[in-house]
Symmetry: C2
Subunit: 213 residues, 2 copies
């Protein structure tokens, strides 16, 4: 009576064929972390999504924290995207640096995998102080640093307020992302990237090189 079918056989034990289970777990984890944050995502739910027992997650990743770290290893480096956008804006006369920045951000966030990863980081940072410190450090090092550099080279900067300018840029970007992808405020959530670039790009340009107190 025990004729093992492919997928869920007798009970325990190895399955036939290439399983790809590890990747299934990673994908499910990215989804769950993205939707519910670190604390809200449970190992059992992730395992269930991947069609697998919870213990297998531990076999592969050792702990929830290490699973989170594995998931949050980004497939692209955000700092490079920012730098490319700023460089493109400097030589392309049809669009300003700010507009390029908005477009680059929205393009990255519109890829499902990226969006889940970023959302997971953001949601976790908002509920756990530990995650907040990590995210702050990461953003300061890889993103705000490059923006500050661009601000310094583009505009005529007297004092060292480049970091101030960069943080203003960051505040508008994170607010846009939050309103569009998390809160899904309605005209914003469905507006086209080009439309948003036209609306928000000049704000970033002014923060980067404009004149204010």
């Amino acid at each position: 009576m025990t004729h093992p079918r492919r997928g869920h056989a007798g009970r325990t034990g190895r399955r036939g064929g290439e399983s790809g289970t590890r990747d299934a777990i990673l994908s499910a984890a990215r989804h769950r972390f993205g939707e519910h944050g670190y604390d809200g995502a449970t190992i059992r739910a992730i395992a269930a999504d991947a069609g697998v027992d919870a213990a297998l997650v531990y076999h592969f990743f050792g702990s929830k924290e290490r699973l989170f770290a594995s998931v949050m290893r980004l497939p692209i480096i955000p700092g490079d995207v920012v730098e490319a956008a700023l460089a493109a804006g400097a030589r392309d006369s049809t669009r300003s640096p700010g507009e390029h920045l908005v477009l680059a951000m929205l393009t990255a966030w519109d890829q499902a995998e990226m969006r889940s990863t970023f959302l997971g980081l953001l949601r976790s940072a908002l509920t756990s102080e530990q995650a907040a410190v990590m995210l702050r450090q990461f953003v300061a090092d890889t993103i705000l640093g490059r923006v500050a550099l661009a601000a310094r080279s583009a505009g005529a900067d007297v004092s060292g307020d480049a970091r101030y300018r960069a943080s203003l840029v960051g505040s508008q970007v994170v607010g846009l992302v939050l309103a569009r992808y998390v809160l899904q405020v309605e005209p914003l959530a469905t507006a086209s990237p080009a439309e948003l670039a036209a609306a928000v790009g000049p704000t970033l340009d002014r923060y980067l090189t404009g004149d204010f107190g």
Copy 2:
């Protein structure tokens, strides 16, 4: 051996004097919800902060959800603050409506009680879909509605893009709040309200009445 001392007597039973326990619970709950969000805050921790048994929280409030609702009843109405700021900006020539808006926001957020309440709402909205719907509804009704109204009356609006403008304003405000009070990005977290008003106010003015695609 059982001489009951004021504060924590024999064991169970009522304590002497006016306890003010209910308010202590409310205050502790506001703190906890603000720091950790709805899920992260536990009844037992709230009770411990208030120096009280967890069951007493249920005696007073019935359930965690009802406690949350009691805490989140705001002492002031944000919509009124927004309206007052916009009105002041219209007749006061030394500061624009956008600058008034920023100042009003920062003033509200700098009161500890307000900040905890708002943070609780925000953090909860970011991890629970249910809370997100509630917050979105609330913000749309009481805040974005008034901003949209102001945009419509102030600028020359052809189509019904007032909601679009209002949501842009909202995105910059929420981003500023997030960067300053949650992530505590450094030049922003300690900048003076006046400084931020000068930097961010014109952005809001442009979103309200400016020209873009």
